[in-house]
């Protein structure tokens, strides 16, 4: 067993065990962290296959961004595990056939003649100067340009839709617009008023019958 095989089996074991813990962990935060671990192990497996761009992108997108937001939400929610388990026996008659069916489909795919080590020979040794990143870029922006752009537009639409669903002005709350605050200038807030000097030792309002105009601010 060479070094690569050892690394493969270690990563595969970590991946399988952590994936199992994702669905068995009682605490949702632990489940999300196990999902992060399984992503990291999967990225390691891809590195073994010389797919460094995919591996790093998996870490960058899923571990670095998606799972952070996922954890963010899971930590904020106060999830009651017992309440979630209440309906277990009622749902089981429907869930069990679905699970068995999924298992059969997956087994048929994995054990069938179209999948397996004989169908997937190890990737050839990369030529000198071969760049996985460059190769993906070349294919993505020539052959698959339209599907790629289409996927990007669909994602953009999803983002705009998500924002449009949540963006609303609530009438009964006070809200602040930071742009207005940042744009605030001295001229809008401070007014210099020229006051006539008063004789020393006089307290209270200046003498008079109270009908004079107050001093006007300079224009």
């Amino acid at each position: 067993m060479n070094f690569q095989a050892v690394v493969f089996f270690v990563l595969a074991a970590v991946l399988v065990l952590s994936a199992l813990r994702v669905i068995t962990a009682r605490n949702p935060v632990h489940a999300a962290l196990f999902l992060v671990l399984s992503f990291a192990a999967a990225a390691g497996l891809w590195l073994l296959l010389h797919a460094e761009f995919l591996a790093i992108t998996l870490i960058l997108v899923y571990v670095g961004a998606v799972m952070v937001l996922f954890l963010f939400v899971v930590m904020m929610l106060d999830i009651n595990i017992d309440r979630m388990r209440e309906g277990f026996w009622n749902i089981l008659p429907i869930a069990l056939p679905v699970a068995v069916l999924l298992l059969v489909v997956m087994a048929a795919t994995l054990l069938g003649p179209y999948f397996g080590l004989s169908m997937r020979p190890p990737p050839p040794e990369a030529a000198e100067g071969y760049s996985n990143t460059r190769a993906i870029g070349m294919v993505l922006y020539t052959e698959y340009l339209y599907p790629f752009e289409l996927a990007a537009v669909i994602l953009l639409v999803a983002i705009v839709a998500a924002i449009a669903l949540t963006l609303r002005e609530r009438k009964n709350t006070r809200s602040i617009d930071p742009a207005v605050q940042v744009a605030a200038r001295r001229e809008g807030r401070v007014r210099l008023v020229s006051m006539p000097s008063e004789p020393r030792g006089v307290s209270g309002p200046p003498p008079g019958d109270g009908t004079e105009q107050p001093p006007q601010p300079p224009k």
């Binding site: 935060v29 962290l33 992060v36 460094e52 761009f53 790093i56 992108t57 870490i59 960058l60 571990v63 670095g64 961004a65 952070v68 937001l69 954890l71 963010f72 930590m75 904020m76 760049s131 996985n132 990143t133 602040i176 930071p178 742009a179 605050q181 940042v182």
Partner: protein, 362 residues
């Protein structure tokens, strides 16, 4: 070296790599120690104080103040690590490790000179981006595992802030890889070679450099973006429950991240190890010429300057309010980077790239 190679046999590559890793990590750790001292001294002088000037090494008067970081380290090492009741013990203790791991691992692909790099991988820029994006786990795991409301608030603030600023950071890097045509950091520096600072990425990508550096300040949770710690609001944020060595590791990670961001900005925008002015007659002088030619000392100088900017920012600006941080990231930086990527793209098109000044860069 041949002697050791024969002595260790098949274990030699592993040992040699370990030696190189130690040769990178150990200076970083020492730099972190003295960066804390530099921070206190610089901010001290900016506020018309002296800063630490008492602790001296072995009673030598001229080292007064210089031994302060070591005194701090020993103090922290000898303190008890208190694990709060109701905390998640495993996650609580692993969080500092999660925080420091990416900060140190990213140095594996940083070149210090032409060819002087631990791992010369093809997609090193992506690797660095992926690793720095993992640094946030230390913060949110620490905040959640502490079972404390202050720590949790700090972690939530930090997670949202880091994810937001990562997008602007990534877009700034897109501009860099457009003009360099490579994801390898060494190749990025070599693409800036030629005519001193005129051919660095600094001038054509000035807005992207500013966005990258400010986003870097936000990513490392430094002032004025330090709402994750926010001493006056939430005590110390995500690491409020940490003490002793566990706290020291968080501290180490923050400063190691600062050095990392400065090093990356120097490599990508400030020409890395290239001198700012290329004078061939000066570089031809036998020994002194080495100082004027390209070399790691230029990289260290640039890193030191950017670190000074970190401290300068901290001494100058009051803390941002949280909604203003979000506004700056989403409504100012991301549109700015998008527009500038478009500008760079147009400037790199065929007729335009031949006109000066674009012909210098592209």
């Amino acid at each position: 070296m041949d002697f050791f190679e024969n002595l260790l046999g098949p274990a030699w590559p592993v040992v040699w790599t370990l030696v190189k890793i130690v040769a990178i990590v150990l200076p970083i750790t020492i730099c972190v120690a003295f960066l804390t001292l530099a921070e206190r001294k610089v901010i001290g002088y900016m506020q018309l104080r002296i800063g630490p000037n008492r602790v001296m090494a072995f009673g030598m008067g001229w080292t007064a103040g210089l031994a302060q970081p070591f005194a701090d380290v020993f103090k922290l090492i000898f303190k008890e690590i208190i694990v709060p009741t109701g905390s998640n013990r495993f996650l609580f203790l692993i969080a500092p490790t999660l925080s420091i791991m990416p900060a140190l691992a990213a140095w594996a692909v940083l070149p210090f000179g032409p060819g002087t790099v631990l791992a010369d991988i093809d997609a090193s820029l992506l690797y660095v981006l992926a690793l720095t994006s993992m640094g946030v786990y230390g913060v949110i795991v620490a905040g959640w595992a502490s079972n404390s409301k202050y720590a949790f608030l700090g972690a939530m603030r930090s997670a949202a802030q880091i994810v937001s600023y990562e997008i602007a950071m990534g877009f700034a890097l897109v501009g860099v890889l457009m003009v360099s045509g490579s994801l390898n950091l060494g190749a990025i520096v070599r693409a800036q070679e030629g005519g001193g600072f005129w051919t660095w990425n600094l001038l054509p990508l000035l807005p992207l450099f500013l966005v990258y550096f400010i986003a870097g300040v936000a990513e490392t949770n430094r002032a004025p973006f330090d709402v994750a710690e926010g001493e006056s609001e939430i005590v110390a944020g995500f690491h409020v429950e940490y003490s002793g060595t566990a706290f020291a590791v968080f501290f180490l990670a923050e400063y190691a991240n600062m050095i990392l961001i400065s090093a990356l900005a120097s490599l990508m925008f400030l020409g890395g190890w290239l001198p700012p002015v290329q004078v061939d007659s000066l570089a031809a002088i036998p020994v002194v010429g080495l100082l004027f030619g390209p070399g790691a000392h230029w990289l260290f100088l640039k890193i030191a300057f950017l670190l000074f900017c970190f401290l300068w920012l901290r001494a100058t600006f009051p803390r941002y309010r949280y909604d203003q941080i979000m506004r700056l990231g989403w409504k100012v930086f991301i549109p700015l980077t998008l527009v500038w990527i478009l500008v760079v793209g147009v400037a790199m098109m065929d007729p335009v790239r031949d006109w000066p000044p674009f012909s210098w860069w592209f």
